[in-house]
Symmetry: C2
Subunit: 554 residues, 2 copies
């Protein structure tokens, strides 16, 4: 990572120039940025400075390019990186970017793996690494069970902070991996697995730097001296928070969250189902119990191979390099003692409450022939943890990184591409989706690793395509496979809730009701709020007027 001092020695042709920006302008911009944040906190990037493939991993994240690149490694390469230390610095950086027309790509921590990591959509953008220095827990209220965070607070850090500062009574909700940003994940509308799993629903209040450098607080934060910024979401008048998610209308520098008080008891559980064909019955039951408030969180219905991958690579199970077939998967399921589908859930509350819930939950799922259930046991010394024991932690908000195993299914230091369509939480749709993906995965030569999650009412289907990025033809197959699937899904009325940089334009065009009214609306807001088009151009398929239709769309 060349520090800014080397800038003068880098030839013009080597710089990664964003559109409309000359080498001179980029140099000047980077030098000015260094004046704002200090030269330690600015980097310049070139093709040569990209982190080598054998060095980059979850804990050594390249911030200039996508760790799990699918197109070329430098397709989404940043020209530089700047790490602000305060909201005031962010505002100054934004003003400077407007002056030089240098696009900024804000990330909180940048572990958006499967969707592009920390790489910018537009080549040559400068990564605004908010989390590097702005990483404080600003406030915790034990009375209101809320917190106020800077972008750099990870799930690990928040959990630690609560444990160490007398807030053991407050639980957090983390996604599968604990190294992400609480703020960043919520802004991309990610999810976890406790009753507080729908992260955007559970946020309360934002501080936002607008694309012109103005600073705004939303909700009750816009009332001076307010005492309810983290307790009441809306404030007065139009409620804007949603337009700062999956968007490029503002940079969130502070964000409030609700925390779950210790529910007074907890019990995780696992149901295993023997048959591939059990999926519809499982989903039907989860929907009914979930909407009926018997299941309090979003349990996951995982296929055999996802659990298998958590334990170890494919080579631990088979010498086959082809997509595994039914009988092979059955064998693995037997070996690792999970189902063809496994339901990991939990109950929250005092024992007598849970006993009542359990009666219904057990009776419901045990109706499915061949179903078995199990509770997590403490990990015995020297024993390998089971997936149930891992989920037991995740489902009570203990951040971890157990699921990193998925990445390495087919190759060491492997890569993952996420495909995440939404469908009705019906057995019919779950199965249709599953078959749709299976078919394409067979066609393109990938193992299906996936999980179905019932949110408030909808079904999230999370498909993990694992691939070897060092193999160009495998990257290409991965790319074409997901491209085809997005179209397959749209044809059936399914749309992804989030996608990789590669597919942002394709997906934005799929959400085309009323002659593309939604994208037009987004573009109109973009042009009004960001007239110079400097903030995260192309995020979610929204391009600013200056760059629209100039061939940057993919």
């Amino acid at each position: 990572m060349p520090p800014i001092e080397h800038l003068a020695s880098i030839p013009d042709e080597t710089l990664i120039l964003p559109p409309d920006v000359s080498a001179t302008a980029l140099r000047e911009a980077l030098n000015q940025l260094a004046k704002i944040v200090g030269s330690n906190n600015v980097q310049v990037h070139t093709k040569e400075s990209m982190k080598p493939d054998d060095e980059g991993h979850y804990y050594n994240l390249p911030k200039e390019h996508d760790l799990f690149y699918i197109l070329e490694k430098d397709t989404f390469l940043a020209s530089g990186l700047v790490a602000p230390g305060s909201t005031e610095e962010v505002s100054q950086i934004v003003k400077l970017a407007n002056k030089y027309l240098v696009p900024l790509w804000p990330v909180s921590i940048g572990r958006n793996l499967g969707y592009g990591g920390s790489a910018p959509r537009l080549r040559g953008s400068i990564v605004l690494d908010l989390g590097a220095r702005m990483n404080k827990v600003l406030d915790v209220s034990v009375r209101d069970c809320t917190c106020l965070l800077e972008p750099g607070v990870s799930y690990f850090a928040l959990h630690d902070y609560l444990q160490k500062n007398g807030f053991k009574n407050l639980w957090i909700d983390n996604p599968d991996l604990g190294g992400g940003s609480v703020v960043g994940n919520a802004l991309d509308r990610g999810a976890g697995y406790t009753p507080y799993g729908e992260h955007f629903s559970m946020h309360c209040g934002m501080e936002v730097v607008l694309p012109t450098g103005e600073v705004m607080r939303t909700g009750m934060g816009s009332l001076p001296g307010s005492n309810t910024w983290q307790t009441f979401q809306y404030g007065y008048g139009p409620y804007p928070d949603g337009i700062f998610t999956q968007s490029n209308y503002g940079i969130v520098t502070k964000m409030g969250f609700w925390l779950m008080p210790d529910p007074g008891g907890y019990q995780s559980y696992l149901f295993t189902f023997q048959n591939d064909s059990d999926l519809p019955a499982i989903v039907e039951s989860v929907r009914i119990l979930r909407i009926g408030m018997v299941i309090q969180n979003s349990p996951t219905i995982r296929n055999t191979l996802l659990d298998a991958a958590t334990y170890g690579p494919k080579s631990d199970y088979t010498t086959s390099e082809k997509p595994l077939q039914d009988s092979e998967i059955d064998e693995i399921a037997n070996k690792i003692k999970v189902g063809r589908w496994s339901l990991y859930g939990a109950m929250y509350g005092p024992k007598p409450m849970r006993d009542l819930q359990w009666e219904t939950i057990k009776a419901t799922f045990m109706k499915i022939p061949g179903a078995k259930y199990e509770f997590a046991q403490p990990v015995a010394e020297g024993e390998k943890m089971s997936v149930l024991q891992m989920r037991d932690e995740t489902l009570r908000g203990l951040p971890n990184t157990y699921e990193l195993g998925w990445l390495n299914w087919t190759s060491p230091r492997g890569s993952l591409l996420g495909f995440s369509p939404i469908s009705p939480a019906s057995g019919f749709d779950a199965n249709k989706q599953y078959q749709m993906v299976l078919k394409r995965f067979q066609e393109f030569g990938f193992d299906y690793l996936g999980t179905f999650i019932v949110g408030w009412r909808e079904l999230h289907h999370i498909v993990c395509l694992t691939f070897d990025k060092t193999n160009p033809s495998e990257r290409k197959r991965a790319h074409r496979c997901i491209e085809a699937l997005i179209d397959d899904a749209a044809a059936e009325g399914y749309g992804e809730y989030r996608t990789h940089l590669c597919y942002m334009d394709q997906l934005a065009s799929a959400y085309s009701w009323g002659n593309g009214a939604s994208l037009k609306f987004n573009e109109q807001l973009k042009d009004s709020l960001d007239p110079n088009g400097i903030l995260a151009p192309g995020k979610s398929g929204v391009w600013p007027a200056r760059l629209r239709g100039r061939g940057f769309e993919l």
Copy 2:
């Protein structure tokens, strides 16, 4: 209500001209509107055509002016009314309004009583009466427990529809009065009292006509052929729904909602507390149980006089015309067998579950000295219903109008002005708020009628100022009192979640953090989305460029 046919016979000076619109232009606009919707569905209004005070009431709502006017009766007078029959007609109307610069004030049903009814903020606007003809339940899914509604569907109508069409398993959530619009209430971010009481949180998907006439669908509705419009709120990319609430950026023509499946059991309860000074202890306990998920809904903590007003006017209890004092209130509490504070709540779920909840709830509140509790009994024949019996219906989503009694506390056909600050859900803040309001109410000569409601985490304090609108000096006192209270509240960091037309500008200025950043942002969106400034100018203090700073602010 003069139909449009009379237009020609009304002299120019009598027309209620909006700014920048000549009498000729208004006439032309009204005539053109009649071509779009049919002449039956357009009205012209003048001072003379305002519904007489002795005719207007909840079921005979004036739509051209505020039923509970505080300034002059014609201050917020509309120039006309138009009732579209379809989204397509709404779109045409909007295009026409742009052509003639005639402002439109959309209402769903217009029963926004306490906050301005159906009257427009800007005199001379045309009321867009969406609900009159667009009042269908478009879809109900028993699988997903959702519905899709047009603006004219009232709580009564939705409940009826579900009962009559085989959806008895689906509960609705209604506010105190059942005659409002499910869509309109949610767009003003109103609330009810079941676990689904926070109406905007429970909405899913919108169809919106933008101020230029474009039609857009939000969330999954922007995916053609989508099957999850009413189940998944966000869709892909920036999530805009919040900016269409309490705003003037769009006209919502369809809106989806989540419905609660029959929870399998229900029990309402009442705790009465003897002392005025018990309020802090009650609020502290409600907060803990509410955030702790033991109390599943938003119970209300009502003062004696609110309950008294539900039963009958002040004159039923006393000959005093002054604000009642402690001992007088004690007497009334004893007479009608409620507390100085009464907590109305409910439990949802099968009996064994409720028994467990009840143990905790009972133990908690019975700790407060003098507390008593009671369950609702069936109404005996010929007996007057108790407030508990009324709340028993409201808390299980049976729409009703029992609380209309509040209006007539001090005068028959009385009026109500709402004051609704948000504070932390702490005993300290509840009491501070209560004392703040009591003091001003004593000063200005009003009885305090109020209720405290713990939402997800915050405290809604709903104060009902009842007054006699036929008495100009009483109107003036009411006006000054609330004006003073908004400032009192803001000085302590409390802000209202919603307000009457009169105070929209005052409140927007109170939410002034960062040099008025929030209002500036709202104005910027307004100017981008509504360049001619025709949609609901002044709603929530947001004026379009064309009308800003020209003296329309109050």
